[in-house]
Structures are given as C-alpha cells and as structure tokens.
Amino acid sequence: MVQKKAASRVSEDAEEELARAPLQAVLLADSFAQKFRPITLERPKVLLPLVNIPMIDYTLAWLESAGVEEVFVFCCAHSRQVIDYLNNSKWFGQPNFTIKTIESHNSVSAGDALRLIYEQNVIYEDFILISGDTLSNMSLTQALEEHKERRKKNSNAVMTMVIKKSKPSPLTHQSRLGTDELFMAIDPETKQLLYYEDKADHLKGSITLDKMLLADNPSVSLHNDKQDCYIDICSPEVLSLFTDNFDYQHLRRHFVKGLLVDDIMGYKIFTHEIYSSYAARIDNFRSYDTVSKDIIQRWTYPFVPDVQFFGNNAAKLERQGMYRSSGIVQSRSAQIGPFTVIGNGTTIGNNTKISNSVVGEGCNIGSNVAIEGSYIWHNVTIEDGCTIRHAIVCDGVIMKSGAVLEPGVVLSFKVVIGQQFVVPAYSKVSLLQQPTKQDSDEELEYADDSSGIVKIPSITCTSDKLSGKLTSELSETQRWATSEVGAGGVGFIWSVGEGGYEEELRHSVAPIPADKLAEIIQAANDDVEMSAQDGNLLPPSGELQPDSNSIGSEDNIEDMRDDYIYFEKEVEATFLRAVQENITEEHVVLEVNSLRLSYNKTSVDCASALFYSMMKLALETPHSSTSELLGNATNVIGTWQKLLKYYLPSLDEEIEVILKFEEMCLESAKEFSSIFVQVLHLLYDKDILQEDAIHNWATEKEGADESDKVFLKQSEKFIQWLNEASEEED
C-alpha cells in the first residue's frame, strides 16, 4: 500500500518531486554468479582491481558524477570486506553523496537482494539499479527525464533499460564482452522493449517470436547488435514486483522476461540507447579483458588511469597509450610496449618485455621476463625468465624463475608457481581446493560461496601481512610435496568448470586461438552445407510451426534437421523396445504414428527411420562374418517386413529407403557396404522393394558423381539380372 501511495503521489506532483527528492541508487556488490572463481572465493568481485582500481570505485565514481546522491550498497558474499573497504575509502564523508550499506548473508540472487531492500523500505522514488561491476560515463539526465515523462503518462512503465550498440562477432556469436548474442525486439517509436533473449541457441540459429508481438505492434525492430549495459532506471514498483513474485531470482532471465511475457498486469519496460558514452558490465574474464582495454583506450573518459577520479595515484599517459606511475624502477633495457599500465612502486628488470598488459603496484619483475596481454595485480613477484601470456595473476603471487603461464591461466591470491613449471592453458590455480560438489542445479548456482569448500585456515586470512607469514608457512606446507604446480609451488589446479572447455575458451582472458577459431568457422560452414543438403530431402509440407514465426528459412531447415535426429532416435527406441518386449506390429505402428504426428513428419521419414533401426539392430546382434551379418539382417527384416511395408505405400518411399541404406553404408554402418547387393536382393525377395523402385533409383544415380556410384556399380549385376528376369517374363 505504501508503494501505491507513493506512486500516485509521484504522478500528481512529479515535477516538484523531481526538484527535491534525492536521486537514489541500489548497487549490488555481488554478482550472484561464479564466473570469477576461484578468485572470488577470497575476495568479492567488486573489489577486484580493474586497471589497478577496484571495480566498485568506477561504479561509485560514475554514480556520483551522474548526480546520484544516495547509494545503497547491497553486500552479500564477503560483505565484511566490502564494508571495510568502503569505510576506509573516501566515499564516506562526501558532502552530497551518502553511501549506506545493507548486509545480508542469506541472499543468493539479485531477486533476494531486491526483496530485502523492499523490506527495509528505503526506496521511495525512481532509482538506479546497477551492480558493482558495471562501469559507465553516461549522463543520466536524459534517461531519467524520459523515464519520468513516460511514468507520468503511464504508471506501468516501470523500468528503463540502458542499451548500447555493439556488434557481436559473426564467427563466435558472442559479444565483445564474451556474453552470448543478445536479441532484442524494440518498438522503434516508443522504444518499448518487446522481446529479450540472451540465451538464444546459436547452433540452431533461430529465435522464436510470438506472433501476437507482430500483430499488436505496428512496427518492431529486431536487433542483435545491441549490448545490455545492465544499468536500469527502476520505479519503486520493481521492488514490490520482486516481492510479489518470490520466484524471481535473476534480473534478466526472470524479471525482464517475466514482465515481457505477462500481459495481465501490463507492466512495460523501455530502453534508452546511449551513443557517445560508454557502459559495460564485467561478467566474465573475457569482459574483464575487453573493458580493461577499453579503459586504457580511454573510452571511459574521464574514468581513465591518468585522471585522479578517486584519490588514486594518477599515472601519467605517455606515447602509444602507455600509463606509468611516478615511482617505477625500470631497467634501461626493459621494453614496455604500447597499451600498458604500470603501477606505483613496481620494479622491472633487464630485457623484460611488457606489452598490452596491466601491472599493479609494488610488483617485482625480474629480468628476461615476457608479459603479454596479461593482468598482474599488486605485490606480485615474478622471477627471472618467466613468460606470461594472456593470464590473470592475483595479489601476492610468486612465480619462481622460468615458470610459464600459458594463455587463459588464472592464478588466484598468493599462489606460488615452482621453477620451470608450465601452467597449462586455461587452468585456474588457487590455494583453496576446488569444491568437490558440482552444483549443476540451477538453484545451487546461487549457493553460498563457502559451501563445499575446504578452507585452509592459515591461508584464508585476508590481510596483507600474509607475505611475511608465508615464509614460515612454507616449512609447514610440506604437505604440498606432491605439488600440482611444480617444485616448491603452492596451490591446487582446478579442473575445467561445468561449462566445459568451450565455455572456458569463450570466457577466458586469452583470445580464442586461431585453430579453435578455424574449427568454429568450419563447423559453421558445415552447418550451412548440411542444412542445404537436408533442404533437398525436406518434405514439401515443411510448414511453419503453428504458434511460432521463425526467422530465416535457413534456420528453419536447421531446426528441421535437428528435429529429424530426435525423431529417428525415438523411433529407434520404440523399435528396440518392440523387439525386446515382443510387441505386436499394430502397436508399433500406433506408436510410430503418434511420434510422426508429434514431430510433424511424413511416412517417408518413418520408413527410413524404421529401416535404419532395423539395420542397426542387425548390426548390433553379434556376428563374426559378413555372411552372419546378412543372416541377421534377413532375420530382422523377415520378422518385421510387414511393419516396414506399412510405411512404404508408394515408389517414392521405397527409393527413399534405398537412399537411406546407401547413406548408412557410407557413414554409420560401413560393414554393410560389402553386402549391399545381397541386402538389396533380400529386400526385393521379401517384396519390400519393387522392381521399379530399384530401376528408378538406378536411373536417379546415373547422373551422380563417381564417388556416389560405388553401390550402383556393385549392384549392376543385380539390376541386369532384374532386367533379364522381367524380359523373360515378357
């Protein structure tokens, strides 16, 4: 009720309100995700340094410069660290900028956080919702005005989402920030968001729009080149909506999609596109890399390393985008390349080469070290002759001489890498052991950070005095004897996460290697080819699915092909069950028919699928020679000939079966290739195939490539025999 009152008051004297109410913001200092593990086990994501400054400072500096006066920082994981950090920062005690922290230990999602904030009853106006890993330099004035204007006209316009143009890569189907391609449908007139899909399956290459969407809106523009900035201007109703829908967890996946689908309440979401300003959220290591580079390239101006926007030590910008702080001890022979940031108090030895990297404060880099495209945090020791390429090295890491980090490696806090040890690509090394429990369940994804983790008590202490402690610990840590990270090394190598290797590639700091990229391109090409092939086989009745409006005919075909594979599997399963449980033919026909209907297939598909399953059964029945295999085939076909015949009402289907058999002999069941003719003869004998079908097949194949004619040549004699037989009959 309070909310409602507030809402009505807003619409009455919104202008007055605009003048005096302080602009509020809710900053979620927890991403409720695990992309930055293992680093985030020890330090919250918002405090991780981004070009040597904690992420949250970028967010707060922006909020302040954008005119926000009151910020509620919601802390969950490692809340103590976040609060301590903020307490000691310059953000407290600003005249027109207050920060209040809200602490929670049992929130596992953004939804929970917002519900808690609603309970606290502190938000009574339109507010900015942002997470602590987002950085921007946009001006909020216009977006806010637009939002309030819309609210006055229609109080259901609860949210304005900030978007920005950014083209996804056509090869990898991911944005520069490593997130999946995002599809949005926006009304070009009102800027209303109509459709939002960030988990589109790019393998299928299609998205599905509700046809009501097209019917209800005079014009819809569909974008895949927009990036969601994760900056939202929300009305207080948003909080109550989260409370009403207690199952909303994820801001986008549940809340946005929920509102878009729900047409009873009629809540609307609008978009605000920014052009000249920058905004991005750091969601994974890839975006960490990209955003760091954007900062170095000054897209985030004035939040760049050489501007002192937050009591930090401003570095000086030199030629070619090189930022150097004042207190650097650098050997004359060291080469520091372009787009590099070197923090205060770092020493760099002879002949060391650094390019495209960020080096933090107080690092000690030896001689003949090569660092490329990497992020070295604070107080790291890198001994002589190390090589680091596209890696993240956290605070206090020690790399013994000659150690090598291959692309994509992440070394968490205070790990020690042994001499000459090569850390394999994409591995993550931490002092903490990988949680044994794999939480693949959706709910568990949000599980408390400390669950299932074996903490090593002496090492989890987070203060910086650990460097001194470490030496004493080294003797104690004889249990690292069987160290996974080389002689004298300390740390566990984590196995590749749930997402698998592919995910790892997409989200790591390292660029996707050339051979992998070639594979992706190849796969994409194959897909196109295959779909083109399948396109010829497609039945003419390839209608659109009743309640969908697929986009792009090619994608549609792809879709069908996938469908066919599933269908074939189902039919095979049905058939095998029939064999094992002695189900009668009529029942099998019934079941296959129902499958046919549900998959929207024709009898041709049924015939070829059934035939395929039979031959597979014959193949899987134990046999020692090709003659035995032929025997098996004879048995199976003999038993189930009626079933097969049922689906072969005309010549076309019979030809289809021969083609299918040919395909099988070439691909999945090569054993049959030697007895192709015999099986063909068998089918003819059993009256499954008519003579005309075989003739038609032969003539059809006449014009094909030489390679395609292998089986035609094999069966030449058989066809000849057929011809002679029919002549004799005449």
Binding site: R176, R298, F309
Partner: protein, 406 residues
C-alpha cells in the same frame, strides 16, 4: 558558515570529473575558494603570512592534482600566494617606514592621522621599491597600491587606533589579502570587457578575420568591434572534434557579424584572404608559447606562411609561470575517443576475443596543441597588448619565483 574542507573537496571532485570547464570559470572558482580558505584560516600572532601561504599551498596542491591539465588552477593559486607575499612585504616595509616616521616626528596627532598615513604610504612605496626588482609594472602598481593602502587605512582608522599595534597588523594581513583577492576576482570578471575595449584598435574596416573553435574572449572581442560600427567578416574554423566553432558562428550571427564556417582542413585554402587571425587559447606559457585547442598549430603555420598576423586574446589568469618543458606541465588532455567516432560502428574492430588480442585500432583525441612563440604576433590581455617576448616580464610581475613549484 560553510565548512572549508567540504568546499575544497567539492571543488576537487568537480575538477576530477571534469565538471568545470574553461579556464575563466575555473580561475574564478579557484579564486573564490581560496578567498574562503584564507578567511577561515586562523592566524597566529606571529608569522601570519607564512601560515596563510602554507594553507593556500596545501589546498592548491590538492586542486592542481585534481586536474593537472587545467593550468588556470595553478595560476590562480600562485597569484594568491604572490598576493600574500606582497602584503607581507608591504607590512614589513610599512613597519620600517612607520618607525622612520616615528623617529622623524615625535608628536603624532590624531588630527594629523590622514596626512601621516599618506606620508607613510609613500614611504612604504619607496621602501618597497628598494626591496623589489624594478619594473614598469611595479612602478605603475605602486601608485595604485599607495592610494589603495591610503584608502584602506583611512577607512578603518578610528577603530584601529584604539587597538594594539600587533593585533591590528595581524588582522590587517589577512584583511588586506582578502581585499587583494577580491580585486583579483574582479579582474578575472572584468577581463573579457577590458580585452574587448581594445578591439577597435585592432580590427579595421572591411577586414577578414579568421578564428578557430569557440572562445568567449574572442566572441566578446569581435562583438565589441561590431558594436563600435566596424564592418568586417569572420571565417570560423569549426574546431573538430567538438565543433565549438558552430556555436561561435551562431553567437556571432546573433550579434550581426557576417560569418562563414569552414572545416579545419580548409584553413590553409582560406588564409590568403584573411587579414588577421584572432584566437583564444587554453594557457599562455612563460616563454610566450601557448597551449591552444587542437588544430591551432596548423592555423598558426598557415598564418605564418601567408604572413597573416596571429593575435592571441587571453586574460591574465591564463598566464602560466611555467615553461612548456617543465615536468609539472601536462601539455595535453587525451579526451574520450567517442568524440571522434561512434563506438558501435567500430566495436567489431575491437573484439579482443579473436586474433592476437592486441588492440589494432587506437583512436587518439588530443585536446590541445602547443604553438611556439615564433608563430604568434601579439597577445592582447586585459592589461594591454604585448609581444610574446614580453610575457616573461608580465610573469615576473604577477608571480614570485618561490611559488613556481607548488
């Protein structure tokens, strides 16, 4: 009474976020801030000037660090420091002068107070002259100062008389400094007007003027000439990438000046038809070179090629006592690349997920150019026109050598 620290922090944040733009505004705000710093500063009985200097220096340090590119901040801080030193010196010499005076005339009367003060002021001026290096400016200023000092002291005479000497002198330093800073602020406010007054002497009938980008000083200068019924034409180079020239052209048209907008790259083609180039700058360095909006060097070279005079209009607050090669001087501000290109259009060139991961596209957007003194014909400041070679004299007048490094 607002909290000084709060005020300082607020201003620092504004500078950091680049919320204050333009040297005029920055200079004015800095001066006002320093005035309140001084007025809030508690002064001990001894060494008052040193305390004030220290206080101003601490604040000045913060301010210059907040935006090292905006040289006007440092200029004003140094000006204020110079003012404090001057006042201290003034007081010192006055004490000396007073002593002399007392020795000279034993019976000091209340009735003769006025006369005495004039006399003492003259003595002050004389003694100060002996302490300071001689220059035309100091000579001129002395006359003003002595009359000013005379007025000041005569104003508060009756009260001060009753109080002890020390107390009055203590209050006086602070008081005088604040007065002087007020004058400085007035000067900053009046600089556009003072410069514009000289416009008719420089712009003649039917001339063609070329300018680059937008500068308030240039606008006032040209408008003043127009108001005095001069008829002339102006070519405005648009000043990419911020296109401030468009704004200037609009404003000029409002004043009834015949204006032509050209691209920056067309400057060389147009310059042969131009009689004079008048530009505003970001800062004037001690060697007479200037830091000016990007593209200015090209304009200056074009002007030199065709022997067209390049006139720089700048208020004295832009006068920087540093040389362009000083390490404290941050010559340039690399601004956001999005002023040049649209991020969305180029985003696929900056996908670091493919290829080597090294950025292949780099967009550089410097804000300033350095124009050496050889290319500049004349400076028009609020204290008259000067040659580039004379700038170092002006700097000696306005700044003390002790403050060059803050």
């Amino acid at each position: 009474m607002p909290d000084v620290e709060g005020l300082v922090n607020e201003f620092v944040v504004k500078l950091e976020n680049r919320k204050v733009e333009g040297s005029h505004a920055t200079a004015r705000l800095t001066a006002e801030l320093l005035r309140s710093v001084i007025s809030q500063q508690r002064v001990p009985s001894t060494n008052q000037a040193a305390t004030l200097i220290e206080a101003v220096r601490v604040v000045g340090d913060k301010l210059t660090a907040a935006n090292p590119v905006e040289l006007a901040v440092g200029n004003i801080v140094r000006r204020v420091l110079h003012i404090i030193r001057e006042e201290e010196l003034l007081l010192l010499t006055k004490d000396v002068g007073g002593l002399k005076l007392i020795v000279g005339s034993d019976d000091e009367d209340t009735a003769e107070g006025d006369y005495n003060h004039v006399a003492s002021a003259a003595a002050v001026a004389a003694s100060r002259n002996s302490l300071l290096r001689p220059s035309l400016h100091t000579l001129l200023e002395n006359i003003q100062n002595s009359t000013l000092a005379c007025q000041n002291s005569s104003g508060g005479d009756s009260e001060e008389k009753s109080k002890s000497d020390k107390n009055s002198s203590r209050r006086k330093v602070k008081h005088n400094v604040i007065e002087a800073v007020n004058i400085l602020i007035e000067d900053i406010d009046a600089c556009h007007e003072l410069i514009a007054e000289q416009a008719v002497e420089h712009i003649h009938q039917n001339e063609v003027i070329l300018t680059l980008g937008h500068s308030k000083t240039v606008l006032e200068f040209l408008s003043a000439a127009k108001e005095k019924k001069r008829s002339f034409r102006v070519f405005v180079a648009e000043g990419a990438p911020r296109y401030q020239g468009h704004v200037l052209a609009k404003e000029l048209v409002k004043k009834g000046v015949q204006s032509t907008v050209v691209t920056d790259s067309a400057v060389f083609a147009m310059i042969s038809r131009v009689n004079m180039v008048i530009v505003g700058v970001h800062a004037v360095m001690a060697n007479g070179g200037v830091i000016a909006p990007v593209g200015m060097r090209m304009v200056a070279l074009a002007a030199r090629n065709y022997a067209v005079p390049l006139v720089v209009v700048a208020g004295t607050h832009k006068l920087c006592p540093l040389y362009p090669h000083n390490p404290e001087v941050l010559l340039n501000d690399m601004r956001c690349p999005s002023e040049l290109v649209d991020f969305g259009e180029f985003s696929n060139c900056m996908d670091f997920g493919i290829d080597s991961g090294a950025p292949l596209l780099h967009i550089v957007n410097p804000a300033f150019d350095y124009v050496p003194p050889e290319l500049i014909s004349l400076f028009i400041t609020d204290i008259g026109g000067h040659n580039p070679s004379y700038i170092h004299r002006l700097i000696a007048d306005y700044y003390s050598a002790d403050d060059l490094v803050l």
